[in-house]
Amino acid sequence: MASNRANQELPVIARFEVRHRNYLAPDGSINRPLPAFASDARLLVALYRSMMLLRLFDRKAVALQRTGRLGTYAVSLGQEAVSVGIASAMQEEDVLLPSYRDNGALIWRGVKLEEILLFWGGDERGNDFSGPVHDFPFCVPVGSQAPHAAGVAYAFKLRKEPRVAVCIFGDGATSKGDVYEAMNFAGVHRLPVVFVATNNRWAISVPLRLQTACETLAQKAVAAGFTGEQVDGNDVLAMRAAAEEAITAARDGKGPRFIEAVTYRLGDHTTSDDASRYRSTDEVQACWKEEPIARLRSYLVGQKLWSKADEEQLAAECNERVEAAVERYLATPPRPPETMFDHLYANLPEAYAAQRHELAGERDA
């Protein structure tokens, strides 16, 4: 077409590209030279153990939900490498701003399993958790934590603290203006923040192609003036390497980075969802072949870093840990109703003290 040709003759004034990172093939073989940390066997095993714990914990949580002992719950099935890989590259003093599906990161950072259960069991005390005190709680309104991440990173920069904010959200979240506005601001001030989009290809029933026309989510960063990279989100080594690189760069004052982690949500969106309504078993089956835990296991076994016995012992350990947490969760009585007024303000205004009283059943009018 003439006009198209005309356009093609115009000078190019800016170019951008998106790169892709992967080390481990689905069968556990190696696609390219591994990053330095991969020589640390203990780290690799720790990553593996953590993903496994998450998977078993998820399974238990769903069972609790099915038997009426937990509220709606969102599993990480198939996506374990993303949140675990990211968290493993963070320092304690960094700040995590997760979405509701990032249990893997919370657990890595020290949040107790029973605290996570408390939250999904409908108890705010789950948010007053044992992880780093400045970490944000789960964010339910999709993408709305991204501006917080920019604000946190701005505080770090202002105070000249070598800390990094890490914000994780889904592919659906990348459609929200919140995320775009936050990224654009982070670009302007070269803030120490890393944005991670977990592209599990579905936002509940909405497939990626209805979410955006972009061929990669990584290119969203072009609109914010910094670099985006696409990472195989089922390869925990790639996740860890990409996160390490991005977090280090951010810490060194080199500004924000964006990571697209391509994975797949093997389970339902949450326990309230029935994914069979909107996607085929074939698609899910195919993606099972890519999943991150088997992949790392193959690699570790191949490297003689992991054995069948290790696997059995790990399963036993994890189950024990999960069961103990469940017990503590179930043994935690609800807080008294009137505590819903606690922490409403630093000091409860007089105006509401009467309501608190009423709730406490102390109607001493």
Partner: protein, 338 residues
């Protein structure tokens, strides 16, 4: 449907749930008028997270039943643009807790498109969202902030409380030439059942419905809280207190006349809503009675509401919402007042 004939009670005939009634109304509206378009997150193949739009995509195609990207501001803004072009968009916001990004579009555009262009462009859109607690949903899924919306001139705010009113009011909202926010009671989606005839008849907007006639006290409520309000009226009647139950149904603009005439008859005005008390829409009703019905009052106007705190998550939500007991206690006290 006659004005006083609606009821939350069960009927002897085959019934449907409130959410099924909504689905029926949507299907009817789409079949009647090719300009009706449904859009939102998961409204297509999945039929909506509450199944309100189930079957619509299959029947009317994915161009008219449209899964949007995850962006509520976008959904509301698309509706404004579509409506200005003569479509009749019905947007779905998955939970009321996610409606806030729409407020800019609702306040600055939807509600004033007609007025600011002196009628040249209009905005016949509906924005649907489930409101309220009680289904043990996660954080941010239990909001009842209708008062924020009912303050916006140019907007209509409609809140059905039964399958019958859901059907008739949704048809009315879609046919209305102006923007309507339509808030549906989450915990009644499946719990409320009633017989609904798919006769295509809309209910009037800006009309309050007297669900039950009474003598001693007027109990005004809307949306999900009508369930407890009606139950409280039952309980009070067992004590000999005859309560008149009014379903406000349309909050903006609302039917002052029905309220004032009921209060003139009973002399007592009890308002029940699930939203936090301070600045809730109950204040507006109380203010109207204090301005125009003062002389008939035999007891102070009373509000039984959600507490003035963040609505707690599942473990405490039942303590937050107005209970039958709290309503009965308040009503009893008002009737003892002299």
């Amino acid at each position: 449907m006659p004005r006083n004939a609606m009821s939350l009670r069960e009927s002897a005939m085959p019934e449907m749930t409130l959410v099924e009634a909504l689905n029926l109304a949507l299907a009817r509206a789409m079949a009647d008028d090719p300009s009706v378009v449904v859009l939102g997150e998961d409204v297509g193949l999945n039929g909506g997270v509450f199944r309100a739009t189930v079957g619509l995509e299959k029947r009317f195609g994915s161009e008219r039943v449209l899964d949007t990207p995850l962006a509520e501001l976008l959904i509301s803004g698309l509706c404004v643009g579509m409506a200005a072009q003569g479509l009749k968009p019905v947007g779905e916001i998955q939970f009321m807790g996610f409606i806030y990004p729409c407020l800019d579009q609702l306040v600055n555009h939807a509600s004033r498109m007609r007025n600011r262009t002196q009628g040249r462009l209009t905005c016949p859109m509906v924005l649907r969202a489930p409101h309220g607690a009680g289904i043990r949903a996660p954080e941010h899924h239990s909001e009842s902030t209708e008062a924020m919306l009912a303050h916006i001139p140019g907007l209509r705010v409609v809140m059905p409380s039964s399958p019958e009113s859901a059907y008739g009011l949704l048809l009315a909202a879609i046919r209305d030439p102006d923007p309507v926010v339509f808030l549906e009671p989450t915990r009644l989606y499946r719990a409320a059942k009633g017989e609904v005839e798919d006769n295509g008849e809309a209910l009037p907007l800006d009309h309050a419905f007297v669900l039950r006639e009474g003598r001693d006290i007027t109990m005004i409520s809307w949306g999900a809280a009508l369930k407890e309000t009606a139950a409280a009226a039952d309980a009070l009647s067992a004590e000999g207190i005859l309560a008149e139950v009014v379903d406000l149904a349309t909050l903006k603009p609302y039917d002052e006349e029905t309220i004032l005439s009921s209060v003139a008859k009973t002399g007592r005005c009890l308002i029940v809503h699930e939203a936090a008390r301070t600045g809730g829409f109950g204040a507006e009703i109380a203010a109207t009675v204090a301005e125009h019905g003062l002389s008939s009052l035999l007891a102070p106007v009373t509000r039984v509401t959600g507490y003035d705190t963040i609505i707690p998550m599942a473990r405490l939500e039942q303590h937050y919402m107005p209970s039958v007991e709290r309503i009965v206690t308040a009503g009893r006290k008002m009737c003892q007042f002299s």
